[in-house]
């Protein structure tokens, strides 16, 4: 193994370099941008879920003093060109391609669909203008369920498709599905629903677009997970070359998958700025964020499980229907990931998987922290139900089925090798920490007093970034970074990562500081300028490995280059030189030390001929090395009040393995935040629609999120086993908490309600639903 040069910072909970600005109000979020002559946009939006647009009258809005322009869907259509969603374009989403315009022209397809954009001297005036936009609609029947969408008689949302199928039905088989089911001792059937909920970053979407008419250059200040994907989306829609668009991003107030690329609204704002030749700001309000920014997870599953009499899960046959909402987004891609990940860390002999995507009059399906998470939910849910049927303990059935760690590693039946997966160890450790026998005693005592405690466990693995695919061409993608030694002695890292809470300006600096040999404070991490940083995206829990890895390798390359140059100016051999604490010196002779800043200043002096490489900058790339999985086991203990239906999570334990930790406090923050979202998803959050398509959770009084009183202390223990790569064994933790907390909590609730015989096949369990489940299971109550 090639160790990091000096592990002074890597592995320690170094205080974040982001915090001094964030804690003093000096962060720069998109709504803080103020440009000379800047106008403000607001959108007039549809109050109906599905309707033809008969006419749009903007004359009264245009006449309002302070309103500068009002543009309709037809106006925008005339000044832009059709373009696919930039994330879909990047990932190569195939399948039906609905035709639609940036703002509604012929019809509206969800409550909140934008119909016109009003641009005014202030946001207040722009919203006044929206109230004056008169739209005449002709109601169409709303398509509010996947079942109705897949009915050939449902009215198609998109005329060019002729039906409401976003992803045509497909079926794939891995292993011998029919043979496995034919020889199983038992076959069990389940129907499981996962409800619609959503990202809800505390900062919504927004941008400031500023077009320079003379230069033909568009500058967009964005809230995004990737300045380049946003740039591509804006450029494609405006019909100009990508190099005519510069996207800048500062601090970003969370995203969780929502802010990738450029939304229709953001593209419209850019088009209007070009049209007017003035900067235009749009920042969505919370109502817009909840109603139209995007939602996730509305999926249903018919699951058949083939089981042996003693509890081996032999095979699964799954039918998935996903409600992708109105417009193209992540939803059409999700079933393929669910299929690939469904076996999890368990050894299945066979998997049949079929899926269909349905288009409905609801908000578009977007990526939300672990977009494929439902595979973990259904797997970990049915394992508990099977265990109950067979009289096994939940930990026992999991230990029984988890793939053994072998060399070479076992592979998931869907193909990926389970290299370095430590599910077994995490299960055993969780059982120890929770002290199962002691809990069961407490549970029995509590039940005698009318208190219903429950314990639940669930495991997960997270491709963060995933194992290196087998074969010589196997690659996990490529991450780039430019690194430069500046004349002030600082090491600048230019990364395409676009942190929005992940603390990259701290973590990447920790790694580079150790490897290069400068104090942490001497590393500057530059993000958020599409003209300056290499292509990148913060998402998919990839950055610990990919960006961490390129920071390590890049710092090593830069150091070699600096030492070569230093050897020349110091008249020494590069092999004898070291860099520590920001000084270059001849090993064994501290008196020779000179600051790296002096070396950089010498290099910048321009006094060297072509035979000396004085360009102290490198472009590094990293292919992910051996990659690997993150994963672990979570455990929740809940207290269910069977009179009120209120569930309290009283204890929560996470045993995780994300390889080598870069910054434990940052890792634990990611885990806790994900778990909090998972607790919210089960106990509180639901994006709710009425049958007529009206959106019912458009405020924080209706869309409830966990508060400090709803989330318990989360106990975390790290397993750091099985290094796979020579030197890059950091793995991501962005999504795991949100992936595994829902089944963990639901399993605990079902355990608490065992005396009532309750079986749970759904994920959203607010108090009213808990009471219904108890009543349905025990009609005598």
């Amino acid at each position: 193994m090639t160790a990091i040069a000096a592990e002074r910072y890597t592995g320690a909970s170094i205080k974040r370099s982001e915090d001094p600005r964030i804690l003093t109000g000096a962060g720069r979020y998109v709504d803080d941008i103020k440009l000379p002559g800047m106008l403000h946009a607001a959108f007039a939006r549809s109050p109906l879920a599905h309707a033809r647009v008969l006419s749009v009258d903007v004359s009264a809005a245009r006449a309002l003093p302070g309103v500068v322009a009002v543009l309709t869907g037809a106006d925008l259509d005339a000044m832009t060109v059709p373009a696919p969603d930039p994330l879909l374009a990047l990932l190569g989403g195939a399948g039906p391609t609905p035709e639609f315009t940036l703002l509604a022209t012929d019809k509206v397809r969800l409550v909140g669909d934008p119909v016109a954009i009003v641009v005014a001297e202030s946001r207040y005036l722009a919203e006044d203008g929206c109230d004056l936009v008169e739209v005449e609609y002709d109601d169409l029947p709303p398509v509010m369920s996947a079942a109705f969408a897949l009915d050939p008689n449902s009215p198609p949302l998109f005329a060019n498709l002729g039906n409401n199928i976003a992803r045509p039905h497909s079926r794939h088989e891995f292993g011998d599905v029919s043979g496995t089911f034919a020889s199983a001792d038992r076959i069990m059937d389940f129907h499981i629903d996962v409800h619609r909920h959503q990202n809800v970053p505390m900062e919504g979407r927004g941008c400031v677009a500023s077009y320079d008419v003379d230069l033909g250059l568009m500058t967009v200040y964005a809230a995004t997970q990737s300045v380049h994907i946003t740039r591509n989306g804006i450029a494609a829609r405006l019909g100009i070359d990508a190099d005519k668009v510069r996207v800048l991003a500062g601090d970003i107030g969370g995203s969780f998958g929502l802010k990738i690329g450029a939304s229709r609204e953001e593209q419209a704002v850019a088009a209007v700025s070009r049209h007017l030749g003035r900067p235009v700001k749009w920042v969505e309000d919370r109502g817009e964020n909840l109603t139209v920014s995007g939602q996730a997870r509305e999926e249903s599953f018919d699951v058949r499980a083939a089981i042996s009499g003693d509890g081996d899960l032999l095979g699964l046959d799954v039918k998935m229907v996903i409600d992708t909402g109105a417009y193209p987004g992540m939803g059409t891609m999700v079933p393929s990931i669910v299929e690939a990940m469904l076996p999890g860390p368990y050894q299945l002999a066979a998997l049949g998987f079929e899926s269909t995507g349905a288009i409905t009059n609801k908000a578009t399906y977007v990526a939300y922290r672990g977009p494929w998470a439902s595979e973990t939910f259904i797997r970990e849910r049915i394992l508990d139900v099977i265990a109950k049927e067979l009289g096994l303990d939940p930990v026992e059935i999991r230990l029984r089925n988890v793939a053994q760690r072998t060399d070479p590693p076992a592979s998931m039946i869907t193909g990926r090798p389970l290299a370095g997966v430590t599910t077994k160890e995490s299960l055993e450790r969780v059982a120890q920490l929770a002290d199962y026998p002691a809990f069961r005693r407490r549970q029995a005592e509590a039940r005698e007093q009318g208190r219903y405690l429950g314990i639940g466990v669930a495991t997960f693995i997270e491709a963060a970034p995933g194992p290196r695919p087998p074969g010589p061409d196997g690659t996990l993608g490529m991450e780039s970074m430019r690194l430069r030694l500046e004349e002030d002695g600082s090491v600048a890292l230019f990364t395409g990562q676009m942190p929005h809470g992940q603390s990259h300006q701290t973590t990447l600096a920790q790694i580079a500081a150790d490897e290069f040999g400068v104090p942490f404070e001497q590393v500057r991490v530059v993000v958020g300028d599409s003209d300056v940083v290499p292509f990148g995206l913060t998402g998919g829990s990839r950055s610990a490995t990919m960006a961490g890895g390129v920071a390590l390798h890049g710092a090593r390359q830069l150091k070699a280059k600096v030492l070569d140059f230093a050897a020349y100016v110091m008249e020494a051999s590069a092999r004898d030189l070291v860099i520590t604490d920001g000084d270059v010196w001849v090993r064994g002779d501290p008196a020779t030390a000179i600051p790296v800043s002096e070396i950089a200043q010498r290099a910048a002096s321009g006094q060297f001929g072509a035979d000396v490489d004085a360009d102290l900058e490198v472009e590094a790339t990293f292919d992910g090395g051996q990659g690997g999985w993150s994963g672990g086991t979570h455990c929740a203990i809940v207290d269910v009040d069977v009179e009120t239906g209120i569930v309290k999570v009283v204890r929560y334990i996470a045993v995780e393995d994300c390889g080598a930790l870069i910054n434990p406090a940052v890792v634990e923050g990611q885990i806790r935040g994900g778990v909090a979202q998972g607790i919210g998803a089960v106990l509180l959050e639901r994006s709710a629609y009425a049958e007529d398509g009206n959106f019912q959770s458009a405020t924080f009084m209706d869309y409830l999120m966990p508060t400090a009183c709803d989330v318990p202390r989360i106990e975390i223990e790290h397993l750091q086993t099985v290094p796979l790569d020579d030197d890059v064994n950091f793995r991501g933790v962005g999504e795991g908490g949100m992936i595994v907390a829902p089944p963990t909590v639901v399993n605990a609730i079902e355990d608490a309600l065992t005396p009532f015989g309750v079986r749970i096949y759904e994920q959203h369990l607010p108090p009213g639903r808990i009471l219904e489940l108890i009543a349905a299971a025990d009609p005598g109550r």
């Binding site: 974040r16 804690l23 709504d31 505390m202 107030g253 923050g669 909090a676």
Partner: protein
């Protein structure tokens, strides 16, 4: 309407429209963009400022209602570039991630600790339960406030 108020110790004047919220006035008219607007309906607490000693939601107040008042925003807590004790404790405790909810939590906790220097964890959780953070799961925030309280007690020589 012309108003005069004191913001972070400095007298300020302005002429906001009657309907302008205090949050928008601070951000747009005074360029104090540290106060964040998260929901505009008083639930999330991101816009919390301290007005005449009490934590208030600046999205639910009109600027004109603040006439004659003393307002402290997140920009007013660090003195001469030195973080205030709560800010320092929250830095030490890794309290935050994306930072959007941060000003609201810091202002709410500042007001609460001022009145309840000996608060325990449960009291702090309840006091901050009107502020929403989507990133952290709250534990690190609570730890930051507890750490600040502990240091305050040590500084004042109390147990």
């Amino acid at each position: 309407m012309d108003i005069t108020l004191k913001v972070n110790g400095t007298a300020c004047t302005g002429s906001p429209e009657a309907r302008k919220t205090l949050a928008d006035f601070l951000r747009d008219d005074l360029n104090l963009t540290g106060t964040h607007v998260g929901c505009e309906h008083g639930v999330c607490g991101a816009c919390t400022v301290i007005l005449d000693g009490r934590a208030v939601r600046s999205c639910l107040m009109l600027a004109v209602q603040a006439a004659g008042s003393e307002v402290t925003t997140i920009e007013g807590l660090a003195v001469d570039g030195e973080l205030g004790p709560l800010q320092q404790a929250m830095w030490d405790a890794h309290s935050f991630q994306c930072g959007f909810c941060t000003p609201g939590f810091v202002m709410q906790a500042t007001a609460f600790l001022g009145d309840h220097p000996d608060a325990d964890e449960q009291q702090i959780r309840e006091a901050l339960s009107g502020n929403i953070c989507r990133c952290t799961g709250y534990q690190s925030i609570i730890e930051g406030v507890l750490l600040a309280a502990e240091r305050n007690r040590a500084r004042s020589g109390r147990p």
